[in-house]
Amino acid sequence: MEYIFSLEFIYLIASMTYILGLKMLGKPESARRGNLIAAAGMTLAIFGTIFLYQGEVPMFIYALIGTAIIIGTIIGWVIAKKVAMTKMPELVSLFNGMGGASAALIGLIEFEHYTGNKLSTATIVAGIIIGSISFSGSMIAWAKLNGTLNKPLRLPKYNLLNNLIIISIFVFAGFMAWSGTESQLFLYILFFAALAYGVLFVLPIGGADMPVVISLLNSFTGLAAALGGFLYGNMVMLTGGILVGSAGTILTFAMCNAMNRSLVNVIFGSFGSSEAPMEGSESQTITGSIKKTTVSDVAILMNYSQRIIIVPGYGLAVAQAQHAIHELEQLLVNKGISVKYAIHPVAGRMPGHMNVLLAETNVDYDKLVEMEDINPEFSNTDVVFVVGANDVVNPAAHNNPSSPIFGMPILDVEKAKSIIINKRSMNPGYAGIENELFYNTKSSMLFGDAKSVIQSLISELKGM
């Protein structure tokens, strides 16, 4: 009895660390400690489960568990430590998929032990469906973010098709639970159907919306873990899973809000796709021509400015130019020029992604200014230097109601005296839409790889 008490007690402590940890993750000062506290709680729960288990367990099972944990720890640790900061979002997606797969596998194994019990079977099949969708969906999100799959793929009538599939899956699952079937064939049909749905669910969604999708799948995995907790009457799985499920859902909405879009619009809408409205009406409305400029012209312009705002985007991260931009900023500051960074909430591939990247290079915290605070400053800024950002400075969000990003808050760079835009080419940004900012009379384009362009700017400026 004492023994059960102690495992239950460990689970209670672990559950508390999750709540506390998530709470602390919401504040910059305590975020890191919060994460470590939750990690400590998790470690405690894992070891408690292994060492306080009641019942006869053959040694080789312990060996199996130990081996799996050791291999998983080494691989997980190495990947998490080695991967470049720019790849963070896809990594989160990858790990999320692993959790989903784990939940689905548990269901596959446990199914035969609970046949006949309708509610347990319902819990198991629900866990398999949600876990599998989370797994295959996360894998697609991962492939989209790392560029393997870069075009939204749509089958004709995909919304109808997807809805039909998910409804059939649930009807079939309901039938399985109700009939108390023992059929492993049915079980695997359900498993593969759910996997297929996960793929179909994420495929049509544009790359720019992946953070929202990952966040949503994140809460799905939480739910799948909670269903496992329900099945075993295991409190720590239940609390941890539900907590992530509900917190993840709220976070998903918060992310949608930051982009001024609704979740329904993200999932069923056509953002980032190559459908008619973008190619037809939009590109035709943009008239005029772009103006090219050179590194030395930009260097002169910057040298005689007083206030410069840098708008970093994902292009900066891809070119690994975050260190170069920091050097440029310091050089300009040493010349007595005021330099700030304008950080759009969804710059990069995930909210807060750009802050993480620039923080990596030791940029001063107070130089990173959030959108609401920097927007009034553009009107008395001499030069705005847009590096690899596109959609977050697209005026279409303000003045083109047919644009898919209409209504999204953007950085008001057009108010500055001159705008220098560094891009590799005229290709549209991640959302796949044209940007009339480039045709603005105040804009000049500085084509080239962000890193080499910034480095040549630095050497030009040093010579002045």
Binding site: T67, A80, V92, F95, I109
Partner: protein, 102 residues
């Protein structure tokens, strides 16, 4: 119908926990600055790795003759560990950078 009522009365404790936890989760996120959305999502991602407990329980209770079950259980524990360890380490790496700024 009776089954459902039985289920609720037998599991009232768990139902309480589920409902209270939903509220806790909602309240906790409240007003988090957008800057912290990514680390928060990543941290939450690591926490749902708690599914590994279920995977361990499966393996501990599996029939020694059930080789398929053992193989799947092994993979489940492995993937669960990846979720937990990878999730917490990545989150820590992101947050480490926030710290340096001060």
């Amino acid at each position: 119908m009776n089954e459902l009522i039985d289920f609720i009365s037998n599991n009232i404790q768990m139902i309480y926990i589920v409902i209270l936890m939903i509220f806790v989760g909602v309240e906790i996120i409240g007003h988090v600055p957008a800057v912290l959305h990514t680390p928060l999502m990543s941290g939450a991602n690591a926490i749902h790795g708690v599914v590994i407990i279920g995977a361990i329980l499966v393996l501990l209770g599996v029939n020694p003759e059930n080789y398929l079950g053992q193989a799947l259980g092994f993979v489940a524990v492995l993937l669960g560990t990846l979720n937990v360890v990878g999730g917490f380490v990545v989150t820590d790496r992101m947050l480490e950078m926030f710290k340096k700024k001060k």
